[in-house]
Amino acid sequence: MTLTQQIAQFLASGIINGTIYALLGLGLVAIHSATRVVNVAQGEFAALGALLASTLVTRGMPLSLAAAVAVGVAAAVGGGVYRTAIRPARDAGPLTLLIITIALHLSLKGLLLLVWGTDPHSLRPFTAGPPLRIAAAVVTRQSLWVIAVTTVVLVVLYVFFTRTILGKSLRACAVNPTAARLMGIRVERMSALAWMIAGALGGLAGVLIAPLTLATYDMGLILGLKGFVGAVIAGMASYPWTVAACILFGVVESLGAGLISSNYRDGIAFGVLIAALLWRALAALRGGLIISEEAAQE
């Protein structure tokens, strides 16, 4: 393989990985903007979706139905987690909420381990057939599914957030919960919705990626963290920029791992995360001290 071909290949796989990260990053942004919680357990939704879909298909369920069930269950788990663990502690302060999501990460991972064990589970690709050749890169059919499904989801989300009352209400809660409440929006319900959306997006990411890698109970943390990288670069606020940043990050990671050494793959990923945090901090310093949320709420 020539260097050009290699680079084309890395670019393609970077874009595909970045698309998966984007689904996780969007969920993180949805939760963070609606409930100000940094959800360390985001990747567990993906692991759940992947494992559930693979088991259902193995048991004979049609793939499309299995995927839908897996995404639905992940969404329900997202909502359930909000109701049982986050909402009761919502007045306890951000530190407690953060520790709760860490506990959730461990508990959900443990639950997955109890049900599915340590063995990897596989899911067949959505459509069978040999890989396709696009430009200089060889791309599996599943990869195209990843990109196609994510594109559809992004369009749906865009319409949801900009054209529907529910979506606009959710955005209103993110900007100013107090004002939203005064306008008659049920902030609680919107928060639960944000967690459900995050669960669904995470579950979908898992279903999409399972045929490409394998599904294991502990796949969540690294996936979720990589979603974070993009979300942090985009300031944990903007949906479109999160997608762009995640895809860019996927490409950087893939090129870095490919051209340096795949042993360093996760090291590069989190080096980028730390660099992104530093970069945001420098930007914040330049822009001056921003009045914090506690004051903006008044």
Binding site: V38, L225, V232, E294
Partner: protein
């Protein structure tokens, strides 16, 4: 017997038990587990300081532990450095790494440290496994020399037991000093309200990054002791899972009480040993290490939901050792009045205007909150800003005090441009302020709140505070703070927690705290709203007194009667624009003002 006396006895008993423990358990159980509890305690003390007092969570303490371990191992083994020299290098290296990571992340506020440190774990693990010529890769390094000083070689369980636990006691002492110091009060203030802390000149990121560096140093120390104790190092003890274990120890023990760190480390370590014997029997061998983390996850969830302060407070209650409300400062406060009150900032050298705004503009998205606003506040006056709701009054205060950056224009304090400074710097230059909704530091006492106001006028550094060197200055600060409390009539409630004060007293406390920074300019945001008429009369007297002692006052107020009574000049804002300015009497009759308040019809 008083509780204090009993606490001292209990502490002495614990130290005595620690001292004889190696002899008591000799031949029955290995002392090794107690060495490890000590090592973990060191790390968890740092983590608890960070979480309980700086309000930040780190999931990277295992990485600093590993960093300390590998620095000690590599410098002694590969570079032939003497172990007693490697120890400070390991501590310093881990502290520096924490500082360099933390300092910029804390500028971001929020909870990004947890992500940065998580990433650090992964980076550290990847590096250690791959830079094999230095670290030995996955198999690690063996034959690391034990600690030695001259001919004295420290080897064996017992030696490391005593060494480690001496460090634990020292770390507890340092942590306690820090918490009870000027720095500790500043941290408590930041935890309570970062904005109010900035308004008295506290740079939150500065202190958070130092606490994080200290936590890194303690983890690095534990790591270095670990390698010299075992003479062996490999990557696996420093992985992400161990960072989780440490967090569980910290939360379980109780992040607000440093001795809880030791309790948490002991409980988790013993529990894990127990799980390692039980789990394989129940589940069969294989993934038992993985199930362990499930148990810890559930434990963490249960503790944080049902007892967020951990087991330590329960332990104290059970032993009837709850400390009473501290009145440490009462004695110091009784000295109030004995110190000459510092003179007000010299009015003679003042330029004619203390504050000048030039073409100030602030835009929030599509909303223009302040529009091309210019005015000057003459020295030694009471200057009132009035206007209908949403006129931009509080935004003007936030712009002057540095909490917001203007979109355009500038703010000058005594001729110096301050609108590009962070809020804590503006405060340090002498801009004091209160808030529309009082922001007091609820878990500090009334007196301590005012002592926080003295932050920039006191000097005990982070390092000095660690070693308990600020006591003298603290006593003086308490006395001065008591003077300010006396001025606002709150001295009799000096030892009450600020969170327990009634609303009117909160306003007065905020004024006392703002006065403590010795402001040249005091911004009062609706000082009379929500007060009873008696309290209102007191506030009017207080505001006049403040002006008469040389501080220029700018006040935002809805109570037009109060403004007319007290103000020397009045500025009227509407939709972020200046519509009138001048002596109260003139402004009151200005048709534009009447129109803004009562509508066009009333004006004509």
């Amino acid at each position: 017997m008083t509780t204090t006396r009993r606490l001292q006895l209990a502490a002495t008993a614990v130290v005595a038990v620690l001292a004889v423990l190696p002899f008591a358990v000799a031949g029955r159980i290995s002392l090794g587990i107690f060495v490890f509890i000590g090592l973990f305690s060191l790390i968890v003390i740092g983590l608890s300081l960070l979480a309980g007092h700086a309000g930040q969570v780190s999931l990277g303490q295992a990485a600093f532990y590993g960093l300390g371990a590998y620095i000690a191992a590599i410098t002694t083994l590969r570079m032939g450095l003497a172990p007693w020299l490697a120890l400070p290098l390991a501590v310093g290296g881990a502290a520096l790494a924490a500082y360099l990571l933390g300092a910029p992340i804390f500028v971001l506020r929020g909870h990004f440290l947890v992500l940065g440190t998580l990433g650090l774990n992964v980076v550290m693990d990847v590096l250690v496994r791959n830079v094999q010529h230095l670290t030995g890769g996955p198999t690690g390094l063996t034959g690391i020399p034990p600690l030695s000083i001259g001919a004295l070689v420290i080897v064996g369980d017992r030696a490391y037991y005593y060494l480690t636990w001496s460090f634990v006691l020292a770390a507890l002492w340092v942590g306690r000093n820090l918490v009870c110091s000027r720095v500790g009060r500043a941290l408590a203030a930041v935890r309570s309200s970062e904005v109010a802390a900035a308004a008295v000149g506290i740079n939150a990121a500065f202190y958070k990054s130092r606490v994080f560096a200290l936590s890194g140093a303690l983890a690095g120390l534990a790591g270095a002791l670990y390698v010299h104790y075992l003479s062996f190092v490999s990557p696996s003890p420093f992985a992400f899972n161990f960072s989780i274990d440490l967090l569980v120890m910290s939360v379980l023990g109780g992040i607000y009480h440093l001795p809880g760190a030791v309790a948490g480390a002991a409980i988790v370590t013993i529990l894990r040993e127990a799980l390692r014997t039980i789990m394989p029997r129940v589940l069969g061998s294989g993934a038992s290490a993985e199930y362990e983390i499930v148990v810890f996850g559930l434990l963490l969830a249960v503790v944080v939901i049902f007892s967020p302060a951990g087991v330590w407070p329960h332990l104290l209650a059970w032993l009837r050792l709850e400390p009473g409300r501290s009145s440490r400062w009462t004695q110091a406060a009784s000295l109030a009045g004995m110190l000459p009150e510092s003179p007000p900032p010299s009015p003679r050298a003042e330029p004619a205007s203390v504050l000048r705004l030039e073409g100030l503009r602030k835009q929030f998205g599509g909303l223009l909150a302040v529009d091309n606003l210019s005015f000057e506040v003459p020295a030694g006056q009471i200057y009132a800003i009035i206007g209908p709701n949403g006129a931009g009054k509080t935004t003007v205060f936030n712009l002057i005090s540095g909490l917001l950056r203007p979109t355009r224009g500038a703010v000058y304090l005594r001729g110096r441009k301050v609108s590009d400074l962070p809020a804590y710097e503006t405060a340090a230059l002498g801009v004091g302020r209160t808030f529309q909704t009082p922001k007091v530091f609820a878990d500090l006492t009334v007196l301590e709140n005012v002592m926080v106001g003295l932050h920039r006028l006191t000097t005990t550094s982070f390092t000095a505070a660690m070693f308990g060197l600020g006591a003298r200055e603290d006593a003086q600060a308490a006395a001065r703070a008591a003077g300010y409390l006396e001025a606002v009539g709150l001295l009799d409630r000096a030892d009450v927690l600020a969170g327990a004060l009634p609303f009117g007293a909160l306003r007065l406390l905020e004024v006392a705290r703002a006065l403590a920074i010795r402001p040249v300019l005091l911004l009062l945001d609706e000082p009379a709203s929500g007060l009873s008429s008696a309290e209102r009369t007191e506030v009017v007297k207080l505001i006049r007194h403040i002006r008469d002692t040389g501080t220029t006052v700018v006040l935002v107020e809805h109570d037009v009667g109060l403004v007319m009574e007290t103000a020397d000049r009045v500025l009227v804002l509407n939709y972020g624009q200046r519509i009138a300015e001048g002596a109260p009497r003139l402004v009151r009759n200005d048709p534009r003002v009447i129109a803004a308040y009562l509508g066009e019809e009333a004006a004509s």
